[in-house]
């Protein structure tokens, strides 16, 4: 009964619900993946392993993968039904972040391209 009651609760952000010896393992797996992705980012940026014009895209992809690893293994943002509130808040935050960053870049690039330079004197 007590176990049933626990499983009905909302998930707490940053907490794994089934506390077991697997938790240390989860953090360590996350650390390994994060180290791997960090080293890959540095290698990609410093060598010509990737097609050079594609390097920024590769770096962005690696950064998103790394953020995903942090969210899943360190913040325990899973896809379980009891995690809905946390994921919804995260999705809304990401929407705003996306709007602010792409909106600013878009508008300023447009202004930059269309505004004549003032005359030099």
């Amino acid at each position: 009964m007590d176990g049933d009651q626990r499983s009905l609760d909302d998930r707490t952000p940053g907490v794994e619900q089934q506390e077991s010896t697997a938790s240390y393992l989860s953090y360590t797996a996350g650390l390994m993946l994060a180290v791997l992705l960090t080293i890959m980012s540095f290698v990609v940026s410093q060598t010509n392993l990737l097609w050079p014009p594609g390097i920024p895209v590769g770096l962005v992809v690696l950064a998103f993968a790394q953020i995903g690893v942090h969210l899943v293994f360190f913040l325990h943002m899973g896809s379980g039904p009891d995690n809905t509130n946390n994921i919804l808040a995260l999705a809304f935050g990401l929407l705003i972040v996306f709007l602010v960053i792409t909106g600013s870049c878009w508008i300023i690039a447009n202004l930059n391209a269309n505004m004549p330079m003032p005359p030099q004197h």
Partner: protein, 210 residues
């Protein structure tokens, strides 16, 4: 007989994670509120990221990122913050399990790695300012010092908060309300590492790829 009617008031057996089963425990409410704060903090950082992305090309004839950034230092900073996040997670876990001895060991590592990150960052800033590449040199450097400095300020306040938390654990023991505060701190520390991934990629790696 009337008592049985309140045993399952909302049919909680079917509803999970959307308030089903009655009010959530304080711990969940506190951590959820802190999670909302962290997301708003990340939204504030998104403004600084946008400013940096827009201004990073405007060096006004001054030094560019390629000339200024030392990727060895950046790699050390990244490693410090990542391992600090890891030991912080393990420390929070041992606090949950009421193992204060392990908690203190992990706490010391977390603090030292965070302080090492801050030391490398401050010496990097001081080196740049002494080379005449301070925040007033160009729009690029203003945006750089604002974005990276804001992250550094968060790490500094995080370290102060963590010292306060260790003192609370020492003075009060691992009580439920101390555990809730520790949970909030570890969320904060992990979020700073997530923001650092963005700083590392946008500022340092994209600013100096070959």
């Amino acid at each position: 007989m009337t008592v049985t009617t309140i045993a399952d008031p909302v049919g909680a057996g079917q509803v999970r994670g959307r308030g089903g089963g009655g009010p959530a425990p304080t711990r969940t409410v506190v951590a959820y509120g802190f999670w909302i704060f962290l997301l708003s903090d990340i939204i504030m950082f998104s403004g600084l990221f946008a400013a940096y992305a827009v201004l990073s090309g405007n060096t006004a004839g001054g030094p560019t990122g390629r000339e200024l950034f030392n990727l060895h230092n950046v790699f050390i900073e990244t490693a410090c913050l990542l391992f600090s996040s890891y030991t912080c997670g393990l420390g929070a876990l041992s606090a949950e399990r009421r193992q204060p001895g392990q908690f203190y060991i992990f706490a010391v590592f977390t603090f030292l790695l965070g302080a090492a990150f801050l030391f490398v960052e401050i010496s990097e800033f001081a080196g740049m300012v002494s080379k005449g590449a301070g925040p007033s040199r160009s729009a690029f450097l203003s945006a750089f010092f604002t974005l990276v400095g804001m992250h550094g300020a968060h790490v500094t306040s995080g370290l102060l908060w963590f010292v306060y938390m260790i003192a609370q654990v020492a003075a009060k023991g691992l009580r439920p309300h101390v555990l809730r505060r520790l949970l909030c701190f570890s969320l904060f520390w992990h979020a700073l590492d997530i923001i650092w991934v963005g700083v590392l990629t946008l500022v340092y790696l994209m600013g100096s790829y070959t």
